[in-house]
């Protein structure tokens, strides 16, 4: 919202100047964000202080009592959030999954992005195509595919159990396990880490590496002292793009997580769909949004550091 006031202010000032047509271009996205992001967020904030309707939805926020109009708002929903540690634990668990997924994506995505960025032009295009290839099929379809792979009669589980049997280990089930969730979360989000990292690494001046080597740096020091710090903005961007969607993810825990696998996204969905408790769903959504914004701001600050140069 402050952004909008700021925009209107500059708009007013520059309308007197000559560059007003530049602001005309930013008008459609501004209006779009106003209608579909700012307004709903405010509505949600308001809803978090209202009572749930008897048959779902929201109860009226005012009452007619003896001809007088009174507000009918409550802090009950927020008290419910703070009254127990269930939701805190759920949030922490979701953050845990998000951190885990982000780290694994980083460890797996970095060498991949680096390899692509350092390969010759022709194979570079092919490799990039392979990275974005999964986007060509639907997200849910790909998760169903993982359900088949993870199923107890699936090839992966049977092969794993066959190997475990040889060394005397007991049989395991992959389906409905945190392992299955992490594998699938990483699979879905890996391109979001690889693409911004690639975009960063591809721009690196290779003369810097030659210079570092010339001045006495071996392979590892060239990486840790030159490539890594210069790629921090890419790592930050990739991490944000992975962390935020994983934090609010509900489809993967729904399908692969089983009863123990639920994340905060599932609970929010539950509140709106099954429990039909919109006010409490709003409370949880707001906390999630604030967490996400905080992560972005923190990331922006980290990415702005010395690694941000270059």
């Amino acid at each position: 919202m402050p952004a909008i006031w700021c925009w209107i202010n500059t708009m007013r000032k520059t309308m007197q100047g000559k560059a007003w047509h530049k602001y005309l271009l930013s008008l459609p996205p501004m209006v779009y964000l106003l209608i579909f992001f700012a307004a709903p967020t405010l509505i949600m904030l308001f809803a978090s202080f209202r009572y749930a309707g008897e048959y779902g939805g929201l109860a009226p926020w005012y009452l007619h009592e003896e001809g007088r109009l009174t507000l009918d708002l409550t802090l009950e929903n927020w008290q419910r959030l703070l009254g127990t540690d269930i939701y805190l634990r759920l949030f922490l668990k979701s953050v845990g999954y998000a951190v885990m997924t982000t780290l694994i994506c980083m460890v797996m995505g970095y060498p991949l992005a680096l390899t692509i960025a350092r390969s010759d032009r022709k194979s570079r295009d092919l490799l990039l195509l392979l990275v974005i290839l999964p986007f060509w099929s639907n997200f849910l379809v790909r998760i169903y595919a993982w359900m088949i792979i993870f199923s107890p009669v699936g090839a992966l589980t049977r092969m794993l159990n066959g190997l475990l049997d040889l060394v005397g280990g007991g049989p395991v089930t992959l389906m409905y396990s945190p392992t299955a969730m992490i594998i699938c979360l990483v699979y879905v989000h890996l391109p979001f880490m690889v693409l911004p990292l690639y975009a960063n690494l591809e721009k690196h001046d290779l003369d810097l590496l030659d210079a570092a080597q010339d001045l006495g740096a071996g392979k590892w020091r060239r990486f840790w002292l030159i490539t890594w710090p210069l790629s921090l903005p890419g790592i930050t961007a990739g991490s944000i793009l992975v962390f935020i969607p994983v934090l609010g993810m509900f489809a993967i825990p729904d399908l692969l997580g089983g009863t123990n696998g639920i994340m905060i996204g599932n609970v929010i969905k539950q509140q709106f769909m099954e429990s039909r408790d919109w006010p409490f769903g709003s409370v949880l959504s707001i906390v999630l949004t604030v967490t996400a914004v905080a992560v972005v701001l923190l990331g922006a600050r980290l990415g702005q550091g010395r690694g941000g140069r270059g």
Partner: protein, 383 residues
Amino acid sequence: MEILDLLEIVDVSRRFDAFLALDRVSLQIEAGEFFTLLGPSGCGKTTLLRLIAGFDQADGGDILLDGKSIIATPPEYRPLHTIFQNYALFPHMTVAENIAFPLRMAGCAKKEIQSRVGEALENVRLPDKAGKYPDSLSGGQKQRIAIARALVNRPRLLLLDEPLSALDAKLSEQMQLELINLQKDIGITFIYVTHDQSEALALSHRIAVMDHGRIAQVDAPSRLYGYPNSRFVADFIGKCNVLAGHVREQQGDCVTVELDGLGPVHVCRSETNFGVGSRCALTLRPEKIRIGRFSSIPGASDTMTSMSVADTVSPLGDESHFTGYVHDLLYLGDVTVYNVTLSNGILLETLLANSASGRTNFFEVGDRVEVAWSCDAGHLVLD
């Protein structure tokens, strides 16, 4: 005891697929020398420099530093540094951190690093830039920081690949003087790459002229200028008239050459033995040619105008005379260039200083003029 060259390049070749970028290059570079690799773009200068630095491997030959082969030594262990054309300063490190980098790599103590970085910054006269990031520096400052970084741990050899080409003309000239002084002060051997012959002449103790992956000539600037050993070198270094002909007679260091379409001239102080009848070319610098108003009286050459206006032409034999017409002229302020068409149709470039008071252009286009040069003015090369 035998004095070894600091760097010895022996029969080094480098091939890119079918293209021979370096063809059996051999060079000896002495300690303390300012040595320049000069040649047109694409002749293999950078390729040779990368081989010396170790970024690339030769297909044949050897590179010796202090008499020991460094072919198998990776770049990080070679006691030499490169100044890259775009300076390659690390953008995420401050100026001080950039300069400290080679010291850190060598494992120096923090205290020592600090004092040597300070010293290095003093040497390039930028002590107040220690905490700045490279992108806040001007081109000339970046250049000096790159040099400070490369010299801070005292390499045996500094390689510079066209380091001034990104600077404007004025700054480039100033940096040339700084480089000369710096090299003199610290006494580290420089191998300098450039395609700019005036830069090479101004800076170097010795120059290797390269052409298509081969060394055409290695000599001191004045020798290179005065005694080019081929048409290519004569053409590439400074302005030069090249007159083709064949050898008629050679007596000691005095050669009589029949110039195509012009007739015989004497050339003395020739160091090469030419076979009689062999094709050759007389290379003549414009400033060595005298030009005067044509006089109809044969031998009455005292009307010649030359650099010192009243100069006279000495008797025939030591002196070659030809007549021609002024084809065009180029007024350059301090001098005027006159292009003279000789009787065989060849254009001869001559220079006349505008030093006489009140006079600038001595001749006009179309004027009949006489040109002359003494027998030791030109230099004969095989063609």
